[in-house]
């Protein structure tokens, strides 16, 4: 058992554990915190896979930005509610069979899966390689991303602003 394996187990355990915790916690804000731990441990797994840049993006976008968006989304809605879990026995059995079936299928598929020869030097100039690929081969998707971001921003402003003006008009009355 080497350090790599131990680290993998710790990270996987944190990722899965936080995922389960997220599903089982009752307060939504606590769920978001659990989700952050899942994101961070997945970033650790990316580092282990020599995907430095992806790990960095995972930390910056997911555990930073996506979490903020989720928190604000929660804060905009009614969030002091607590989930009430009442699941009947038939449904539990159905879910359990589903999980077991999924596990069996995945286990037998993954067990003898071969990815062929693995690249050994992925960590060398990782970010530079991504940069060269992104800005020479995948220019159009990259530019389309900016359009997507623009649409998201403008759409959100239109939705939020109209709401705001109505409220302002009500306040003036």
């Amino acid at each position: 058992m080497n350090g790599e394996l131990i680290l993998f187990f710790v990270l996987a355990l944190v990722a899965i554990g936080s995922g389960i915790l997220m599903l089982n916690l009752t307060k939504v804000v606590h769920m978001v915190i659990a989700l952050v731990f899942t994101f961070l441990s997945i970033a650790g797994l990316y580092v282990m896979l020599s995907a430095e840049f992806v790990a960095f993006v995972q930390v910056l976008i997911y555990s930073g930005a996506i979490t903020i968006i989720m928190l604000f989304g929660i804060m905009l809605t009614r969030h002091d509610d607590k989930t009430e879990t009442k699941i009947g026995v038939p449904r539990m059995i159905l879910v359990l069979t589903g999980i077991v079936a999924f596990f069996v299928v995945m286990f037998f598929q993954i067990n003898d899966l071969s990815f062929g020869e693995q690249a050994a030097d992925l960590h060398v100039d990782n970010t530079e390689k991504i940069g060269i690929a992104l800005y020479s081969k995948y220019v159009i998707p990259f530019e389309l991303t900016s359009v997507l971001l623009l649409v998201a921003l403008v759409g959100a402003i239109i939705l939020a602003k109209r709401d705001d003006e109505d409220k302002g008009a009500e306040d003036n009355e």
């Binding site: 020599s50 930005a65 060398v124 800005y135 971001l149 939020a160």
Partner: protein, 124 residues
């Protein structure tokens, strides 16, 4: 393979820092808890709000206006992520990459200007 081990060992330092960063507040708060006298009263346990007496929960429903700020942050965060590989690979890409990035930034700038025009950035 040796290079890969060097890469992994570099991340040991990161792991050290991470553990130290997690341990520092835990140790500091636990030590403080052990050392300080604890005589809690109901008055003391209320949240401090700059002298104003706190009323109802801190998790109140936000105004939708704050959401735009969060979204602006996310969008410019994504822009930063795209800027990193661009800056690293800039020497090998030449002038065309500069034009690409200019188009990208101008697109997002349109969004920012639109937000500005719609008085989203104004506080009240």
């Amino acid at each position: 393979m040796e290079l890969y081990h060097l890469y992994q060992n570099n991340y040991l330092v990161v792991l050290m820092f991470l553990l130290l960063g997690i341990l520092l507040p835990i140790v500091a708060l636990t030590a403080g808890k052990i050392l300080r006298p604890a005589k809690p009263t109901k008055e003391k346990q209320t949240t401090y709000e700059s002298g104003i007496e706190p009323f109802h929960q801190s998790w109140v429903q936000y105004n939708v206006r704050y959401y735009i700020f969060a979204l602006l942050f996310v969008i410019f965060d994504v822009e930063t992520v795209f800027l990193y590989p661009w800056a690293v690979a800039y020497d090998k890409l030449g002038i065309f990459a500069l034009i690409e990035m200019t188009i990208f930034i101008v697109m997002l700038l349109i969004g920012l200007l639109y937000a500005w025009k719609k008085k989203v950035l104004k506080w009240m």
